[in-house]
């Protein structure tokens, strides 16, 4: 259980000179890397690991935690300002953040995004510090059938993200599911849909595809519209939200916090899924669901808060069980191991001081990027004043080189380019792009866990009914899907 004196001692360590400096530098670096399309938080942590060799382990880890938290937040900045999500997680922030900036509310969007991210991150870091062992026990009760049920529930609640035409959304999602199946079969281990190409046995690289679908496609759209986009007069507006504004969003924030941490705890579900689920739940509970996607502040808050709320959840199984919650925490785990602090139950038993230092570090990191983000928002927004004729080539280059550098694989430049053009055509003809991404994350998870469950039960489908958590989740999924479809059928709910 929580040991307050150890936590206080942890704060003492984290707030001392070099460690605090490491956190501030890490936050600034994380925000920049997160905001640049093509550079993700995961990559930033991986690339920083060698630098931490020469540092004291505590300082190095403080820096990496700060890069992690700030990197997830920073992705939202580019989403809001130039419609190119800096990190995969920020895909959802685009939906309402960019329309807000278009309406001259860039400042407000950035302010809310920052406050949302900070609140979500702090909430989950504090939950982590308070309840880590309890939540770890909870995570152990989940296995393949439950993961399958969670993935199905995720797919069901996010049906609302399909845009104006559910049919087009379904086409996108199904195509995404087929793409997700390229590569080695997750259970049997032999190649599917690979055309006999060795490069495809690992599947299509996810991050380059995502950069293509979102960043590059937007670059293409800008190229099409270059004469018609007038030089934007820098109407940024007020950044710091008022107290009243925050009170309006309290339920959205609370919901996003809970969704974020729960999704985070589940392995292989990270900030992207958290943001998707939180956004669609907020939209579903809203009195004006039709306003979403047109620049509704609620949408930005829901997405950003959940993204950062998932960080604590992702770190939790990594520290307690040695199972990383997502790609970024997998890299963090490697960093800890290199510094002779391999995460797992032994770390808790033998180094409780280190564990509490990690908790304190994560809490301080969240405060750090919150402050830096609010101070810097006005500077970031200046990107709006840049000449699009120069900005678009820069984004294009960022996307292509980022795709290359993530795996150092020249094939990935092509993946980015091809999906960039596909994404451009899809958006042009009103086919939503997000379902492809969701299908990749949730579809792959649903398939492997469905078949893994059947391997556990020797082919008995009853395993999904007899395990109470799985059964309840599947039931919820059915309810969510039915209610979503019924709403679409209602007169006025769907388009004529």
């Amino acid at each position: 259980m929580l040991d307050f004196s150890l936590l206080l001692q942890g704060f003492g360590t984290v707030l001392s000179g070099p460690n605090l400096l490491a956190i501030v530098l890490g936050s600034i670096g994380g925000i920049i890397v997160g905001a640049l399309p093509g550079l993700t938080a995961t990559m930033a942590i991986a690339l920083l690991i060698p630098f931490t060799f020469s540092m004291d382990p505590t300082t190095g880890i403080c820096m990496l935690l700060a890069v992690y938290a700030a990197g997830i937040y920073g992705g939202g900045i580019a989403s809001i300002l130039i419609r190119t999500p800096g990190t995969p997680a920020a895909v959802v922030t685009v939906l309402d953040g960019y329309p807000m900036a278009q309406k001259g509310m860039a400042g407000q969007a950035l302010g809310l995004a920052t406050i949302g991210s900070g609140t979500g991150g702090l909430f989950s870091a504090i939950c982590l510090a308070l309840f880590a062992p309890i939540l770890a026990a909870f995570a152990l009760r989940f296995s393949a059938p439950e993961y399958f049920a969670v993935a199905v529930l995720g797919l069901a609640v996010t049906i609302t993200l399909t845009g104006r035409s559910p049919l087009k959304g379904a086409v996108s999602a199904s195509m995404g599911l087929l793409i997700a199946m390229i590569g080695l079969d997750p259970i049997g281990g032999f190649p599917r849909f690979t055309f006999g190409l060795t490069e495809l046995t690992g599947g299509i690289s996810f991050v380059p595809m995502l950069i293509g679908l979102f960043s590059l496609s937007e670059a293409f759209r800008q190229i099409e519209l270059i004469e018609t986009t007038e030089r934007m007069t820098a109407k940024i507006g007020r950044v710091l939200p008022t107290i009243g504004e925050l009170i309006v969003h309290r339920w959205t924030m609370l919901r996003a916090c809970v969704i974020g941490i729960v999704v985070g705890i589940i392995p292989s579900m990270g900030p992207e899924t958290a943001a998707f689920v939180s956004y669609s739940e907020t939209k579903r509970n809203s009195k004006e669901p039709e306003e979403f996607g047109k620049g509704k502040p609620d949408g930005v808050v829901a997405a950003q808060t959940a993204e950062n709320a998932s960080t604590g959840g992702d770190v939790l199984p990594m520290i307690t069980l040695g199972v990383p919650g997502d790609a970024a925490t997998a890299v963090l785990m490697g960093a800890l191991t290199i510094h002779n602090l391999e995460p797992g139950p032994l770390l808790f038993r033998d180094h409780p001081d280190v564990v509490h230092m990690l908790f304190a570090g994560l809490i301080v990191a969240n405060v750090a990027f919150l402050v830096i983000g609010l101070v810097g928002a006005r500077q970031f927004a200046k990107v709006l004043n840049l000449d699009r004729r120069y900005l678009v080539p820069a984004i294009m280059l960022c996307s292509l080189i980022g795709s290359y550098a993530i795996n150092n694989n020249p094939m990935d430049v092509w993946v980015c380019l091809i999906f960039g053009f596909i994404g451009y055509l899809m958006q042009r003809y009103d086919y939503p792009v997000s379902p492809i991404v969701l299908a990749q994350i949730l579809g792959a998870m649903a398939e492997s866990n469905f078949r893994r469950s059947l391997a556990m039960s020797q082919g008995d489908l009853g395993i999904f009914a007899t395990r109470p958590i799985a059964a309840v989740l599947l039931l919820l999924a059915v309810v969510a899907a039915v209610s979503a479809i019924r709403r679409q059928m209602q007169p006025g709910g769907a388009r004529p």
Binding site: S174, F220, I223, I401, D430, Q458, G459
Partner: protein, 160 residues
């Protein structure tokens, strides 16, 4: 009305029909391919999920085509004129050429040439700022990746 004289409605119908046909081709291919995979011992082999997805894809593609043929496609498409098509095609060609040249030519020269050409396509006219911006961006990426982060971008092999 767009360049080829078709109404947005007609173009959207064509787009929907194309999407439906592409989907059907993909679904058919998925069925064909999965037929050659080993049969499972019990329910839950490698083919079950791809086939289920392909079936859904066939259903939604047919529904999409049916909708389109009844003239119910959304008419929201913004018109494309010849200049725009030319610019998009040029960008696509330029980017493909860049992807091809990246490894053999090396990051520095290919990126510089790519940026100069791209800025030109984008309608930038001031030569000094085109060249200056290209040099600045290329050098910036080189500095971040090669020097700071130690991620080697493709080197200039033919020089060494």
């Amino acid at each position: 009305m767009s360049a080829d004289g078709k109404s947005p409605q007609v173009r959207m119908t064509i787009a929907d029909l194309s999407a439906a046909s592409i989907s059907l081709v993909f679904a058919g291919w998925a069925f064909h391919e999965s037929g050659r995979w080993p049969a499972p011992e019990f329910i839950g082999g490698p083919a079950i999920v791809p086939r289920a997805v392909a079936t859904i894809l066939v259903v939604v593609a047919l529904a999409l085509a049916w909708n389109a043929l009844r003239g119910r496609s959304d008419a929201v498409e913004k018109p494309l004129d010849a200049t725009k098509i030319r610019r998009i095609a040029l960008t696509l060609g330029l980017t493909a050429a860049y992807a091809v040249s990246l490894e053999p030519a090396g990051f520095l020269p290919s990126t510089f040439v790519f940026l100069v050409a791209f800025l030109h396509v984008m309608g930038a006219t001031n030569r000094v700022s085109i060249v200056g911006f290209s040099i600045l961006l290329t050098a910036g990426f080189h500095a971040i990746f090669d020097l700071v982060l130690k991620v080697p971008l493709p080197p200039i092999v033919w020089l060494s």
